[in-house]
Structure formats: structure tokens, C-alpha cells
């Protein structure tokens, strides 16, 4: 494959900002992305940040795509290099024919630049030092200044930027004018001084965003918890999951405060650790409230013992795992899909858990609400498998939707009336032959329906028993319940190529947008594949069928060991040689270019010899 080069383009390129963490660049960069969005052009933004509060390098990548590709493409067309620490690497990463924008206040030797890249210098520090006396302003307005210049270079409508500044500082009005001034200072400077730059990357108003919204997956998942009826949230701070709890608190204040009394229809506890978080969730779930925790890999590790209890004692609970790079502290601020096995089989003994894999914030909302229904219906822990890419980046995504005729499914709960009517109650009795028993909430009835919950083995009436056959009976019922789950969890989505093909691709979660673009890239090379996007574990029969329908299936994942592939091999009983891993696990979100290249290469190698030729030989 040829080296990618920057081509002249309208509304289709990648801008990357290289900044220093804590320098105030985040809000300026966000302003840049949002103003493009307001021009009706889809953008996909990704923050690549360090585990640090101030001083280390951070990057912000903005993919502009008229076609609506929302994954990472790979490569950079315009680098805004504001961090001397990472200069060499940043300059090297620009596609040939691309652009380098930098602060030219201090001269740099020619060896620091590239011949095949157009260099655009702007003496940002100098201009700021001249315009401002306050040290803080000098630093902060640097960022707004380069946004002003970029707006002139690329064709961002200044009206949109000014409107956004107005919205941003609605509560601190006196900041509006200085920010707008700084923006115009940068813009005017560029208009006067950069007129002869041959800028072939251009933005033009479009109508491709439609009614889509701009939101991060963690906020969407928190809203999903509110719509899913969750009243108890227990958590312990950990990147990248913290903003789930913070968003839940923020939205609850607005949506769950009793308008008359001002009292809370929710309870949030910042627990002392993840053991306590999941313990609180289990206690609340046992007692009939919908409860969840949000965490990341290290927290999942700490929760193992409790997760086994919840599985075995059959207690509804929801765990949102915003995955980051492991093992150990790993890459705490980078993304991965590397907790699949740790969650699917969490805890000691024989366990299996329900996992949901949202592909974007829209689905994070939807699946978050669904997780609470599933947890109650199946009386078991349910994992919402987010990752840092979906969770912490703002995505252009379909609006969140709620059908007012939708009801919360509280599952099989025996009521006081039913107990009074003499209905038989056995906590672990399989009445409906689906492996799911009935439960009662504590405090329901003075003389009936009380039972003892324990992590030790018990009979169908919840009585302690160490009898082998009774234990086996219970474990088999739990397996049957997992079979029942297959029909209740979100189905996978299959998309067939226009042409007949022997190649299939399985992917899931945040890989989805890059995969969509990669399909286009593959088609251009005359490579056709059918795809299956997994949305949940346990896998239903559609997954087995999809694998059976293809000679080779690529499984695309963001981890080292091909964990989903292992799960597929294990659970679907497929021939392992049929499943070929395509793995991206360097901590940055997978790119369309990577997927295209990997599949194209592998298909080239694998391409089966047509039957006729084989016979002729």
C-alpha cells in the first residue's frame, strides 16, 4: 500500500493539536471542533492525554468528515504543534503534503522542519505578550489566538465561534468580550499575514450533522441509568470512569430532585474502595433498588469475590466498566478493550456474566437503561462494557431516545398479595422452566416469603445444604438461566457485502466507526467482507451461524490476546483456525487505515484458490 499523502480536500481531513497538559488548551480545542460541527460538518474528536494534572504532553485529534466517518482515520493533515517536548515526533507524524502550524516566536533551525510539509508560523507568544500584561492571560489566550488563525486558514465561520464563546461563558459574562477579542486578534493576524499560504484543506458549510448530538459515552451511560430507574450509585474514583458518577450526580440533581421538597430520589455514595462500591450495589439490589457502580480494570479486579456472590446468590447489579489499558495500572489514560475475559468469567468457581458492548454514546444510553432491566429480569450482575474512547470523548451521535410507553421490567418479584393468595415461594425454585426463580423484597410479608441469602450452597428453598446433587442442580439451573439470557440480550448486527464473499469480520464496541470507514477502504481495493457487530455476551445462535457461513472470520479487537476470539472459540465451539485476530492495543483508538491494511494484507495471503484452478492443477 502506498504512503498516505495529504490531498486537497473540502471537509475531509485530520487536524491534530499537540499541547501541554494543564495549559488551558482543552477548551480552546473543543471550541474548534464544535464550531465545525455547528457548520453542519461531522467531526470526531479524540483526546489523548497523560495520567497527570499539569506538564505532560497531551493531544487532541479532530477528524473532519463530510462523509460522516466518526472513527479515527489514521495520519495527520494539519499538525498544530504547541508542545516543544514532542515536536520531533509530532512533525514526523504529518502525512506527506500536509501542514505544520507552530508558534514562530522563537526561531528554530531548518533541521527541525520537513521539506514535504507546508510550514505555517505564527508568533503567538509574541503577539500575546504585546497584547496582554497579565501572565495568566498571556498563557490562556495563546490557545484562543491559534483558533482564530485556524478559523481564517480553514474557513471556519467566525459567527459560530463567537456564538459558542457566548454559550460557554453564559454564567461568567465578563469573560465573553476578552475571549472574542483574543479570537479576533488571532484571526485578523492570519488574514493579514497568511494570505499566501497554499491551504488546500477547506471547510464549507454542510448539512451532514442533521439532528445528531455531541456527547461523551460516560454522560450518556449516566443518563441511561437515570432512565433505567437506578436510585443507588456507589463508586470509587478511577479514570476513565469517574465522569459516569459525576454525570449521574449532575443529571440527578436536575431530573431526580423532588420539586416540592427538594429531596433526592437517589443516593450516591463515594465508597472507600471498589469492594465497598460493589457491596453497596449488591445490598441495594438485594433490597429491591436498582443500583450500579462504575469503574475500570483495577476496580473490576477488586470486585471479583463479590461478583461471584452476586452470581451465585442471584442479585441484580449493574457494573459499568469503562475500560482502559491494563494490566495493573497499565495505561490509565489510554483506551483498550482488554477486560472481556475478566468480566465474562469474573470471580472464582464456575461463573459467567452478561456483557453489553455499546458502539457509541447513543447506544451507551440505550444499553445502560437496558442493563437494569436485564439485571432484574435475570437476577445477576450485568456489565456495560464501555471504554475510554467512547466514555471520555465527545462523539457526534444519534439523539438519545426514550419511548414513553416503555416500562421498567422489574423481573420476577413475588408480591405480598401473591403470598397472601398462597402462591408457593421457593427462592430458587424454577417455576417457569427458564432457570429464573422468583424473589421477594425484604419486609414484604409478616410470615411468608422470607428467605436467607448466602454465597454457600443451598437448595431450591434457600436452605443450606452441602449435598452434591443439590449443588449440581443449582449450578445447572444457573446455566439454564444463562441460556435464557441469550434471547434477552441485544442481538448482534449483521451487514452483508454487496457481493458474495467467504470473508467475515466480527467486531464490537468503539471499533465500530473505524470499521465502517475501513469497509469503504476495502471495497475500493475490491475486497468484500460481511460483518457482524457483537452487542452482547452470551452469544446467540446468529453468531454461530455467521462464523459457519464464512471460510475465514477476522475478529477485530483492541487488546493483545484476542480476548473476544478466545470467548468465541470457547463458547461457540468453533475451529480456532477459522478466526483470525486483528489487534490494535497501543492505547490509541483503532484507526480505519489500520483495519484496512491488516485485512487487505491478510486477505491477500489467505485468498483461497478458486475451485476450478485447484482442480485443473
Amino acid at each position: 500500500m502506498s504512503q498516505p499523502t495529504t490531498k486537497a480536500s473540502v471537509n475531509d481531513f485530520v487536524v491534530k493539536f499537540a499541547n501541554v497538559n494543564g495549559s488551558g488548551s482543552a477548551s480552546a480545542n473543543n471550541l474548534f471542533a464544535k464550531s465545525i460541527l455547528r457548520m453542519g460538518i461531522p467531526v470526531a474528536c479524540r483526546n489523548i492525554f497523560p495520567s497527570n494534572i499539569q506538564g505532560l504532553p497531551t493531544w487532541y485529534e479532530v477528524r473532519v468528515s463530510e462523509a460522516g466517518w466518526l472513527g479515527r482515520r489514521g495520519g495527520v493533515d494539519l499538525m498544530v504543534a504547541m508542545n516543544p517536548q514532542t515536536w520531533d515526533k509530532d512533525v514526523a507524524s504529518i502525512d506527506s503534503g500536509g501542514y505544520l502550524f507552530y508558534d514562530s516566536s522563537k526561531p528554530l533551525p531548518a533541521s527541525k522542519f520537513r521539506d514535504d510539509v507546508t510550514v505555517i508560523g505564527m508568533p503567538i507568544t509574541e503577539i500575546c505578550n504585546k497584547a496582554y500584561t497579565d501572565a495568566r492571560q498571556r498563557q490562556l489566550f495563546k490557545n484562543i489566538l491559534y483558533i482564530g488563525a485556524l478559523s481564517a486558514l480553514l474557513g471556519i465561520d467566525p459567527i459560530e465561534v463567537e456564538k459558542l464563546i457566548g454559550e460557554e461563558f453564559r454564567a461568567k459574562e465578563k469573560l465573553i468580550v476578552p475571549n472574542v477579542k483574543a479570537f479576533l486578534l488571532g484571526r485578523d493576524w492570519a488574514v493579514a499575514n497568511l494570505a499566501d499560504v497554499d491551504m488546500r484543506l477547506k471547510l464549507e458549510r454542510s448539512g451532514k450533522v442533521g439532528d445528531r448530538i455531541f456527547i461523551d459515552g460516560n454522560s450518556a451511560a449516566a443518563l441511561g441509568a437515570i432512565y433505567g430507574g437506578a436510585t443507588v450509585c456507589a463508586w470509587y474514583p478511577i479514570t476513565p470512569s469517574t465522569s459516569v458518577a459525576e454525570a449521574y450526580a449532575r443529571y440527578c440533581k436536575k431530573l431526580r430532585t423532588d420539586p416540592e421538597t427538594g429531596k433526592a430520589r437517589y443516593a450516591i455514595v463515594q465508597a472507600e474502595d471498589e469492594l465497598a462500591s460493589i457491596g453497596i450495589v449488591i445490598g441495594a439490589g438485594w433490597n429491591g433498588a436498582r443500583a450500579f457502580t462504575c469503574t475500570s480494570g483495577p476496580g473490576i479486579s477488586l470486585m471479583q469475590e463479590f461478583l461471584g456472590l452476586a452470581y451465585f446468590a442471584e442479585i441484580p447489579s449493574v457494573v459499568m466498566n469503562v475500560q482502559r489499558g491494563g494490566p495493573s495500572t497499565g495505561m490509565p489514560t489510554r483506551t483498550q478493550q482488554a477486560d472481556i475475559l475478566a468480566c465474562a468469567y469474573a470471580s472464582h468457581g464456575d461463573t459467567k456474566h452478561v456483557l453489553l458492548f455499546p458502539q457509541d454514546p447513543h447506544e451507551s444510553f440505550e444499553m445502560s437503561a437496558t442493563a437494569f432491566d436485564l439485571a432484574d429480569r435475570l437476577q445477576t450482575p450485568v456489565f456495560l462494557m464501555l471504554d475510554l474512547d467512547i466514555g471520555m470523548n465527545d462523539w457526534v451521535t444519534q439523539p438519545l431516545t426514550w419511548d414513553d410507553s416503555r416500562h421498567l421490567d422489574r423481573g420476577k418479584v413475588m408480591t405480598r398479595e401473591e403470598l397472601d393468595a398462597g402462591k408457593e415461594f421457593g427462592r430458587y425454585l424454577d417455576v417457569d422452566n427458564d432457570g429464573i426463580p422468583y424473589r421477594t423484597y425484604p419486609g414484604t410479608h409478616p410470615t411468608r416469603g422470607a428467605y436467607f441469602t448466602r454465597g454457600t450452597t443451598k437448595d431450591r428453598y434457600a436452605r443450606y445444604s452441602e449435598e452434591g446433587p443439590i449443588y449440581v442442580d443449582n449450578m445447572q439451573r444457573l446455566l439454564q438461566k444463562f441460556e435464557t439470557a441469550k434471547a434477552l440480550v441485544p442481538r448482534p448486527v449483521r451487514t452483508d457485502a454487496e457481493r458474495q464473499t467467504q470473508f467475515g469480520v466480527i467486531f464490537f464496541g468503539s471499533t465500530a466507526p473505524a470499521m465502517a470507514e475501513a469497509l469503504e477502504g476495502l471495497r475500493e481495493q475490491d475486497i468484500h467482507v460481511n460483518t457482524l457487530r457483537l452487542r452482547a455476551f452470551p452469544f446467540d445462535n446468529d453468531v454461530d451461524d455467521f462464523i459457519a457461513d464464512h471460510a475465514q472470520v477476522f475478529v477485530i479487537e483492541q487488546n493483545r490476546d484476542g480476548q473476544m476470539r478466545m470467548l468465541l472459540v470457547n463458547e461457540c465451539g468453533v475451529d480456532p483456525t477459522k478466526l483470525i485476530s486483528v489487534l490494535n492495543y497501543d492505547g490509541t483508538p483503532i484507526t480505519a487505515r489500520f483495519i484496512t491494511r491488516e485485512i487487505a494484507e491478510k486477505v491477500g495471503v489467505l485468498k483461497p484458490i478458486p475451485l476450478k484452478k485447484k482442480v485443473a492443477r
Partner: protein, 351 residues
């Protein structure tokens, strides 16, 4: 070992409480603990306290961790929901249960290993948060269920049955509970029902974090000479600061005590704790003084028992979180789901 149902033959002469329940209605299955285990006496005291308070058995939730002590919830309150959770983690499970339904009585049962060793953190944080509960530690200074290893409450210098010396400092759970803001702190002895039952009653009606450390000798592993948690040692060194009589709000106050020796504590719900003071200088309203007194007596080798501290107007977790008075698990869709229109507004703000 399987479940042993207690014969449910109701003796016609068994006295009933105001709700018409007899003591039997508050019992559980037959205990499988060692004969003479202190924990069984505490179970009996819990049965008596709930019976005397006329509590509807199903309005109590009993939760425990793991250990011989944590097994006891099977042996009392058979008509209550129970939860035998994981080792050292009862406090978090109880906290979650309490958040879900603030109207039930939460009885947390634990051991010294469960609460002072593996679960020390959870114990501390549940107390700190002021979870409205009765937290009973059946304290025998050993791990009973795993056969006699030292727990963190074993006294420094004490010898195990096998003759091993404990060289680590011991954890005083009462001291920790006082330090972390428990609003009801007491210590008692499994062999002293007269003291323990009214303490349990007062703790149940206390609307905050109530902690009771009950010394409960382990006859299998910690009842030998030289053990400070043996029956003999505690009987000999028990320094009771007060004896109490407990009157729930509805009970008529009839008995009279000599003035001077009696002090009354009126709790938030109107219930009255009447302290017959044995130690003149003891004031259960002063947290700092209580801590000092405890330390002094302990240094003198005494085990101080009684109601050590009580705040008659406690705050609890729900109050601090400002939750609605209706139990969260009873809120309906209308109160929980904001609906499509609210979501549309949110969408609009995100464009």
C-alpha cells in the same frame, strides 16, 4: 450438615407480645455452633430484644459476613430476610440495603476477624457514614471458624490454646467506633443477658450508627486460662459503668429509681434509656470523656461494659444525603423516569 428446622409446636402458654407473636416467632433454626459458644447467647438476646420491642419480624433485615458469628443470623429471626455475605464486607452490603429501604431495621452481625481484621476498613467507613443500623460484633479474639488463629482483637501477650503468643497490638473496636463518630457505642458480655438485652433494645431504636462490642468466649479455641476473652476473665474483670433499663416510646414509665444514681436519656423517637449508674463519674454523653475513661480502665486490666456513649439526636446517612422519605425501592416509574420530553430538551442542549 443440612438445615435443621425447629419444631414449630406452639406452646399454648407461651406469652405473646403486643403484636401477638411469641418468642418462637423470633427464633431461627437450631444452632450448629459448639455447645456453650458465647455467640448462641447473643442470638438469644437478640430474639428477646426483638420480641420485647414488639417488632414485626419481617421488618428486620439481618446481615452478616463470614465466621461462626456471622452464621448466627440463621439461628434468630427466621421470618426476617437474611444475608450472609462475604468475609468482612457486611457493612457495605448493609449500607446498600439501608439506602434501598430506610424503613427496615438493619441488624449487622459480625465477628472480630470479620470486622477488625479483613473488614476493618468497611467497619470504619460504615460507622463514619452514620448508617442507621445495629452493628453487633461477637468478639472472641480468635478466628473460630478457621480453628483458632489470632484475630486483631486478641490482646497483646495473650496465649492461644496451642501456646502461641500474640505479639501484635490489639484493636479496640469500641475505641475505634467512638473515634469515628458512632452515635451509640456499648460493650457487653454474652454471659450477661440483663445488660445485653436492654442495650440491644436501645440500639435498635437508636436512629443512627449503633455499635455493640459483645465479648463472646469461644469455648473451642479461646476459653482457657490466660485468655482475656474467656468466661472467667471477663466475669472477674467486668467493670460495668452502668446498668440500664430500656423503655420504648409507648411503654409506661412506672418504676422509680433513687435520684442521684439514675440518669435518663431520651432518644430521638421518644424512647427512654434509664441508666443505673454504677460508676459515679461516668457520663455517657461525653464522647471525649468516654474515650479517656475506657483507656484508663483498660490500662488497669478491666473490661468496661455498659452504654459508653450515646447521642440522643443522631444524624444518619439518609439525612446527610437528603433522600426522600419514601424508601427508594418503592419509587415508581413516574418518580424515576424523566420521560421523552425531558430527553428531547437535553438533546437540544447538546447540539
Amino acid at each position: 450438615m443440612t438445615y435443621l428446622a425447629k419444631p414449630r409446636l406452639h406452646h399454648p402458654k407461651l406469652p405473646a407480645n403486643k403484636l401477638g407473636y411469641t418468642r418462637r416467632d423470633y427464633e431461627g433454626t437450631v444452632s450448629t455452633l459448639c455447645a456453650g459458644c458465647g455467640h448462641d447467647s447473643i442470638s438469644a438476646a437478640i430474639v428477646q430484644a426483638c420480641f420485647e420491642l414488639d417488632l414485626p419480624p419481617h421488618r428486620i433485615a439481618k446481615l452478616s459476613g463470614i465466621g461462626c458469628s456471622s452464621k448466627t443470623p440463621t439461628y434468630f429471626l427466621g421470618n426476617s430476610h437474611g444475608f450472609n455475605s462475604v468475609h468482612g464486607r457486611m457493612p457495605s452490603v448493609l449500607t446498600g440495603a439501608n439506602l434501598a429501604n430506610r424503613e427496615l431495621v438493619y441488624m449487622g452481625v459480625s465477628g472480630d476477624g470479620d470486622s477488625a481484621s479483613i473488614g476493618f476498613g468497611q467497619f470504619a467507613h460504615a460507622i463514619r457514614r452514620g448508617v442507621n443500623m445495629v452493628y453487633v460484633v461477637m468478639n472472641n479474639g480468635v478466628y473460630g471458624l478457621t480453628k483458632g488463629q489470632f484475630s486483631a482483637t486478641a490482646d497483646k501477650g495473650s496465649k492461644s490454646k496451642r501456646g502461641v503468643m500474640n505479639v501484635d497490638e490489639s484493636v479496640d473496636m469500641v475505641g475505634v467506633a467512638l473515634l469515628l463518630g458512632a452515635t451509640f457505642v456499648a460493650r457487653s458480655f454474652s454471659g450477661d443477658k440483663e445488660q445485653l438485652v436492654p442495650l440491644l433494645e436501645a440500639a435498635i431504636l437508636h436512629e443512627g450508627a449503633a455499635f455493640i462490642d459483645v465479648i463472646s468466649p469461644c469455648v473451642a479455641f479461646n476459653n482457657h486460662e490466660g485468655s482475656t476473652k474467656s468466661f472467667d476473665y471477663v466475669r472477674e474483670h467486668n467493670e460495668a459503668v452502668n446498668r440500664l433499663d430500656f423503655m420504648p416510646p409507648r411503654a409506661e414509665i412506672t418504676t422509680q429509681y433513687e435520684p442521684g444514681a439514675v440518669s435518663e436519656v431520651v432518644q430521638h423517637d421518644g424512647s427512654v434509656i434509664r441508666l443505673r449508674k454504677l460508676a459515679d463519674d461516668y457520663d455517657p454523653h461525653d464522647r471525649i470523656a468516654a474515650m479517656t475513661y475506657m483507656q484508663e480502665r483498660q490500662a488497669a486490666g478491666e473490661v468496661v461494659t455498659g452504654l459508653l456513649y450515646v447521642d440522643p439526636q443522631p444524624e444518619d446517612l439518609h439525612r446527610n444525603l437528603n433522600t426522600v422519605p419514601v424508601p427508594l425501592n418503592q419509587l415508581g416509574e413516574r418518580e424515576l423516569v424523566p420521560g421523552a420530553a425531558a430527553l428531547e430538551q437535553l438533546n437540544a442542549s447538546l447540539r
